[in-house]
């Protein structure tokens, strides 16, 4: 079977790309969280086609392309990135990528590109344009305020923990409940991650922050937070809560100050520990359809710490946020 490897550090982006693949295309899909993992999968023959992101921790997309050339790996590479600078397009093509698709990817564009390069036969199916897609200006705006919030948060974190924080590039997307469901099921299925969620509300804006920490990070998190005991289940829960408190708190504080709001935070809930995730979502299914998601993937320089922070805003909140951000949108 034809194999497709999706290499992106963002969980949401990986889901979105895999969802955009043609439905009637019998392929085996593999995932990689960063370039190093991607190269490993390629060497195992898991990617006749590689859908590659550029900005990733550990090993970025450019380095992956270089390594593919050096190791002479047989694969076709399509870069899918939010980096829309023309120089990025040129650079990746020089490095051997066959095409470049801007994020967020949609099924139609991907199909066109696949047909164009003869990877897939067939006609381009006309798809209804997504009327509710996020306005690019608004997306930029959200991305910008998240960047600023992250900058402030990162600075405080770095000073307190004495580590260099690799600032993530926020992913801003409108996501459907079904996508959220898939993402959470992933958490449930894999025992290798732990998650905490916490509600926040204030000034007409409300939502939930979801913090996901890969279990392999625990030893290093313990080191950073100067915990000397052995890292057992109980200590892991403690570390998870500490890390969640710090990252959710700093990020929300940063956002709130820019939106000129104050958020009240509810008590955090550990997901997957005592209650199944699907149970949590299905109880809520009829209440919401789509939501604004801001996703951040963090890394700490010199440490094996991988975590994701996803902020999900309710639909109603977006009106208030757009209103608050209106001054940024004016020319």
């Amino acid at each position: 079977m034809y194999s497709v490897l999706i290499c992106d550090d963002s969980l949401v982006a990986r889901k979105q790309v895999s969802k955009s693949l043609p439905e009637d295309w019998p392929v085996s899909i593999h995932f990689a969280k960063h370039g190093r993992e991607g190269i490993m999968a390629l060497r195992e023959g898991k990617g006749q086609l590689l859908l590659l992101d550029l900005n990733m921790p550990i090993m970025d997309g450019y380095e992956v392309l270089q390594e593919i050339n050096e190791l002479n790996i047989d694969t076709k590479v399509i870069v899918i990135s939010g980096d829309i600078q023309p120089s990025a397009h040129e650079r990746v093509k020089e490095l051997g990528a066959i095409d470049f698709i801007e994020k967020p990817v949609d099924a139609n564009t991907l199909q066109e590109v696949l047909v164009k390069h003869g990877i897939r036969q067939g006609e381009v199916v006309e798809e209804e344009p997504d009327e509710d897609a996020l306005d690019p200006d608004i997306r930029d705006c959200y991305q910008e305020i998240t960047n600023v919030a992250m900058g402030q948060a990162g600075d405080r974190l770095a000073r307190m923990l004495g580590v260099f924080v690799e600032l993530p590039i926020p992913n801003v997307n409108l996501i459907e409940v079904s996508e959220m469901h898939m993402m959470l099921q992933d958490i449930e299925a894999k025992e290798s991650v732990s998650a905490v969620c916490q509600g926040f509300i204030g000034g007409g804006v409300s939502g939930e922050a979801l913090f996901i920490l890969s279990d392999s990070s625990f030893d290093d998190v313990a080191k950073i937070l100067s915990i000397k005991e052995e890292v057992d289940d109980k200590v892991q829960l403690e570390l998870l809560m500490d890390a969640a408190n710090i990252l959710i708190g700093t990020c929300l504080n940063g956002l709130a100050s820019q939106l000129d709001l104050r958020f009240s935070q509810g008590h955090p809930i550990v997901l997957g520990q005592h209650r199944s995730v699907s149970e949590l979502i299905s109880a809520n299914k009829n209440k919401w359809k789509r939501t604004l998601a801001i996703e951040l993937s963090y890394g700490l320089e010199g440490y094996n710490v991988q975590c994701d922070l996803v902020l999900l805003f309710t639909e109603e909140s977006m009106n208030m946020m757009n209103y608050k951000l209106a001054h940024l949108l004016e020319d």
Binding site: R156, L157, R159, M160, Q198, L225, S226, I227, K234, L237, E238, M241, D242, N245, I246, G249, T250, N253, Q265, H267, P268, V270, Q273, H274
Partner: protein, 162 residues
Amino acid sequence: MTDSAADDMTEFHWMMDMIQSIDVGIVVIDKEGRVKVWNGFMESHSGLLPSDVRDKTLFELFEEVDAEWLKNKMRPVIELRNRAFITWEQRPFLFKFRNYRPITGAEDFMYQNIILSPLTTHTGQVENISITIYDMTDVATSKKLLEATQVTLDENLERQSA
């Protein structure tokens, strides 16, 4: 006294009354953990009077409070002006308060959810921290009961299918 000053006093009075009588523990400590003030909930459950505790540290007053652990939690609150949340699942209690309900209290001790929030001065510095203590005993009891029921149910199902 002017009217507005009298109004202020009245307002201050009922606000204090509310803080004193609310069924949530409120403690204000300084950066060293010395108790600045606490409310009726804390007084009742600990059995210590405000005059007994003022300017003593939590670590002196309560031997169960792990000083190093609490200081670790306080650090981000002071330095990042960030709230810290601690759930009963992670640590059943901060203060060892005995069960006070002879009939409906099923546990020996009160399970607690804790929130540490920074209190900033007018210059934006964090000099004090407020600790809020929620009684989670009933939630913990139900959760334990639910889990026990699930285990029994699973066992029964297994026996039936065997």
